[in-house]
């Protein structure tokens, strides 16, 4: 119970040049098709063993949601097949088709019936559903007055009221607040331990890496890579970074100047990478790991005084830490044109789990307002994951030594 086998799965949408073409095609079945096939997914093959947790990742438009729809049976594949064993609960999109005019309670009955539960079973589960959703008196209010978070809470509570053999979760969970996200992940973990197969779509690297045994990366409608979450995540990050750079390059060509890279260009960052203690380039770093940020600067003109600064920002753009070689009293004087300078910043990654970016600045003093040779946002993107430490909150790793006395 609980295995999923996907073989040769493909999905194409029919595109007709005009509204009349479909009619023409229907009425003359012998004639050649008048539509073009627009392939969203192609040649998807994978097997999820019972009790396994698999994360599905990929950029927007990679086909993740379409794949989940095919697996859950909402939409029918154009080629190939999906085979599943056991009871499936799919939390595809927000609200699970709740009817806005009915109360939460009535919608629970409707959604429960669609999940194959009987009325008396739902009545029995009702108290636990209410308790888990924690929406209080709203349960008897029409769903239209719910916030999106409340709808999600209720939908998740119903879908997981009874442990399914297979649980399919789309990005719906990201709507909830952190408290509920944790609560729902706790429930997912608990079901996992009890043997539920999990298929999870998320952009949240942490979620994938902490819950899943395996990750599948979709790119352009095909399986680009599958394997251990860390490895696939690394590959995914590289893919994103590549895309970001490519975008930068295109904008640079388009109008000669790039928004995120400003400056006179007399000196530029020609390479930037993060290395772990063993000297291997990494994109995913464990909390507290020793890393080296290596920045190679190329001078395109003679620079009388060169200062390199960097800032580490979280995904919201808040600066976690920033410094420069002027503040550290290590400015370089008279850098000749054509010279390359390699900076290595060694530090322990004392940051909380999350996605971070590095911005660099090549200037002449301690600010970029005097001579701004180059300012480069998102020069490097990396992810911090908590692999070895006990779970903690926040974006900094400040490990305490705990002493408890009983005076």
């Amino acid at each position: 119970m609980g295995a999923i086998t996907v073989s040769g799965l493909g999905k194409a949408y029919k595109q007709y040049p005009t509204r009349w073409s479909r009619l023409a095609e229907w009425l003359s079945p012998s004639a050649a098709p008048r539509h073009r096939l627009h392939w969203i997914l192609r040649d998807i093959d994978f097997h999820v063993a019972a009790g396994e947790a698999v994360g599905l990742i990929g950029i927007n438009g990679a086909g993740k949601s379409t794949l989940l729809k095919l697996i859950s049976g909402t939409s029918q594949p154009s080629t190939g097949s999906v085979h599943m064993e056991g009871r499936v609960a799919a939390l595809l999109e927000l609200g699970m088709g709740f009817h806005p005019d009915f109360s939460g309670r009535q919608n629970v009955y409707m959604a429960g019936q669609l999940l194959g539960l009987r009325i008396d079973e739902i009545s029995e589960l009702m108290p636990s559903i209410e308790a888990f959703a924690e929406i209080g008196d709203y349960i008897d209010q029409p769903v239209r007055v719910y916030s999106s978070g409340m709808q999600m809470r209720l939908a998740f509570s119903v879908a997981t009221a009874r442990r399914p053999d297979i649980l399919i979760v789309d990005e719906a969970l990201s709507v909830g607040d952190t408290y509920f996200q944790h609560k729902s992940f706790e429930r997912i973990r608990q079901y996992r331990r009890a043997g539920t197969t999990l298929l999870l779509v998320s952009h949240d690297k942490q979620a994938i890496q902490s819950v899943c045994d395996r990750a599948i990366l979709l790119d352009g409608g095909r399986v680009a890579r599958q394997g251990p979450p860390e490895e696939v995540m690394d590959y995914y990050n590289a893919l994103i970074a590549d895309r970001e750079n490519a975008q930068l390059r295109t904008t640079a060509h388009a109008d000669g100047k790039v928004q995120t890279i400003s400056g006179t260009g007399e000196a530029t960052v020609s390479a930037i990478a993060l290395f772990d203690a063993d000297g291997a380039a990494v994109e995913v770093v464990d909390v507290g790991a020793d890393v080296t940020l290596q920045v190679t600067v190329t001078a395109h003109a003679a620079i009388p005084r060169m200062v390199l600064g960097y800032m580490i920002k979280d995904r919201l753009g808040q600066t976690m830490y920033g410094t420069n070689t002027d503040l550290q009293q290590m400015p370089l004087a008279d850098v000749a044109a054509g010279r390359q300078v390699v900076y290595r910043f060694r530090f322990p990654m004392n940051l909380g789990a999350g996605s971070y970016s590095v911005a660099t600045a090549i200037v002449s003093t301690d600010t970029h307002l005097v001579n701004n040779y180059e300012w480069r946002d998102l020069a490097l993107v990396f992810t911090v994951v908590n692999m070895r430490r006990p779970h903690f909150e926040g974006c900094a790793w400040i490990e305490p030594v705990i002493e408890i006395t009983h005076p």
Binding site: Y13, K14, Q76, M96, F102, Q113, L114, G116
Partner: protein
């Protein structure tokens, strides 16, 4: 086919729940609530009775009773209402439930069943009232009344067959819904609901053979107004049409149900 029935049986809870919810939702946020289910059709019967039999003094040719025209009218209007409700709801059911269809995997064949049950429930209420009125006013036709049951079944089959065909087509060609809204008005006046068939010129009356609804409506009128059993032979074309429409509807539905989800 049997797989479809099994799937339908599997989601019977959802079907019955949907029927109940839809029934409730009509009178949601009203203060009188369920009373409206009775008041609405009751008002309609009263209007037809008072306006046509008392105010306009319409009489059916060859009938003495002052109420006979009202009964004639109700026999046609109520059953036409059942037909129009099933076809009208069915032709838009997939579009209206797009939200559900796209998000949740359930047997789609449940939707036409819900439409039929809902329309049947509404019809049962109003027809029950009408039957009560017949009994009270002493116009109940007796045992022959039971003859309308097979006619009703035939009419429902015809309506849902047609509705299913239109419903599937409407997903792909939205003109169908617009067109049918106009078409059904002409259809209504081409059916002897308001007027007795006798007033039609012979040339037009001959054309009524091609209108399956005319035969069915006349069967009801024959039972309820004149207390005579229906002319079963006249229902044969309607029966054939109903069977063909149901087969066509199911075939179309099964062939296009997957594509439908992509189109919504």
């Amino acid at each position: 086919m049997s797989a479809m029935l099994r799937a339908l049986w599997g989601c019977r809870g959802f079907v019955l729940g949907s029927v109940r919810r839809e029934f409730q939702s009509k009178y949601r946020n009203t203060m009188l609530g369920a009373a409206w289910t009775v008041l609405n059709p009751l008002a309609m019967i009263v209007v037809y009775t008072v306006i046509f039999s008392q105010v306009m003094r319409n009489r059916l040719p060859g009938s003495e009773s002052g109420l006979s025209y009202s009964i004639y009218l109700c026999a046609g209007v109520l059953t036409w209402g059942l037909f129009a409700e099933i076809v009208g709801r069915a032709q838009s059911m997939f579009i209206e439930q797009a939200n559900l269809i796209k998000k949740i995997s359930f047997p789609r064949i449940a939707l036409p069943v819900i439409v039929v049950l809902n329309a049947g429930l509404n019809f049962a209420i109003i027809f029950g009232l009408f039957t009560g009125f017949l009994i009270v006013s002493g116009h109940f036709p007796g045992w022959v009344f039971l003859a309308i049951v097979p006619v009703l079944l035939l009419q429902v089959a015809f309506a849902i067959g047609l509705g299913l065909v239109l419903g599937v087509l409407n997903v792909f060609f939205r003109d169908i819904g617009q067109f049918f809204a106009i078409f059904i008005q002409f259809w209504f006046w081409f059916t002897p609901v308001v007027y007795p068939v006798a007033i039609l010129p012979d040339a037009i009356r001959a054309l009524l053979v091609w209108n399956p609804l005319a035969a069915m409506v006349m069967a009801y009128q024959s039972v309820l107004v004149y207390g005579r059993g229906p002319d079963w032979a006249s229902l044969a074309p309607a029966f054939i049409a109903a069977v063909l429409l149901c087969l066509l509807g199911l075939r179309l539905f099964r062939r296009r149900v997957g594509e439908m989800v992509d189109e919504l």
